[in-house]
Symmetry: C2
Subunit: 154 residues, 2 copies
DNA sequence: TCAAGATAGATGCATTTGCATGTATCGCTG
DNA sequence: CAGCGATACATGCAAATGCATCTATCTTGA
């Protein structure tokens, strides 16, 4: 395996790249979460509904969801409590693992996700589409996917 | 001014791009904040020290700092309280605006920032540098800067 | 120049978060 | 197959966060 020391310029480039990725995410997120759609439901809670809506089976384990969001396990547990109290999701015991909890959207949860989602995707498009050409967006998509894939397997 | 309606594929591309940018940020941030350096100081508090350390004058207004972080004004105010109580920063009144507060690093704040910064930049490099080539990193840097610049002036 | 609205930052209070820990189930090993 | 460490999720509690509001200062316009 390769263990050559990184040059200081390589370290600097990586740091600047991350810094810029991070700040751009902050700038975009700030705008998005200020949108009127997120008066109904905080964006972090929406994100869980969204994640469930994208899942082919319609149900996900809490630990799988936890990998997608920047929240501790206990915070996610209580966030799901809130969603459940509002009747937007339902917990059920994972059939293949008695410790696990499967989370699924209720009818009301699906509807609210779609409703917020329509506004949200419009806000995203207004912010991102005019900032970068289609080709630049495809590049950015590819690079962030590659970065994420690497980080996930480490 | 141009007001042509975006095509649905353009909307979809923008949404996927943002989603990927966001998830990659979550994945990287999760790793970074788990680093041992952030036992000493939470990453959000470090970020304020870092921002101050990068500033040519060494001092910044609270509202300027607030633009860089994903925190409400009141949360930043109290975060700065904590930093001040630990002797890492000092508040002073902005000379040109009696309402404004200038924040600067103390000696101890500079030292702690450098100390954490050394570990932090190493973690970043270990995560980002092997994931993307130097050219890819330069592309990602350029694209996220462009996105951020657009969002900032909107 | 002074009154009215705007802006910067601080603070009370309810909500959200994370850490440490608890409970239950799983999987492995002897 | 019994026991023991590991894993999944929940919960008590202290700390952090955001919203609404407050105070102080600035800016504008009559």
């Amino acid at each position: 395996m390769s263990t050559k020391a990184p040059t200081s310029s390589a370290v600097r480039l990586a740091a600047e790249t991350w810094e810029s990725l991070f700040r751009s995410q902050v700038a975009v997120m700030r705008r998005l979460q200020a949108g009127p759609a997120f008066k109904k439901l905080p964006i972090k809670e929406y994100d869980v509904l969204f994640t469930l809506s994208r899942c082919p089976t319609g149900k996900l384990r809490l630990n799988e969801i936890n990998d997608h969001v920047l929240l501790s396990q206990s915070s996610l547990s209580r966030l799901v409590d809130r969603l459940e109290k509002r009747g937007l999701v339902e917990r059920s015991i994972a059939p293949d693992d008695g410790r696990g909890i499967l989370l699924g959207l209720t009818e009301a949860g699906q509807e609210l996700q779609k409703e917020i989602g329509r506004e949200h995707i419009r806000d995203i498009a207004e912010l991102v589409a005019p900032a970068l050409t289609a080709e630049e967006q495809r590049d950015l998509l590819r690079l962030t996917e590659k970065l994420q894939a690497f980080v996930a397997n480490k």
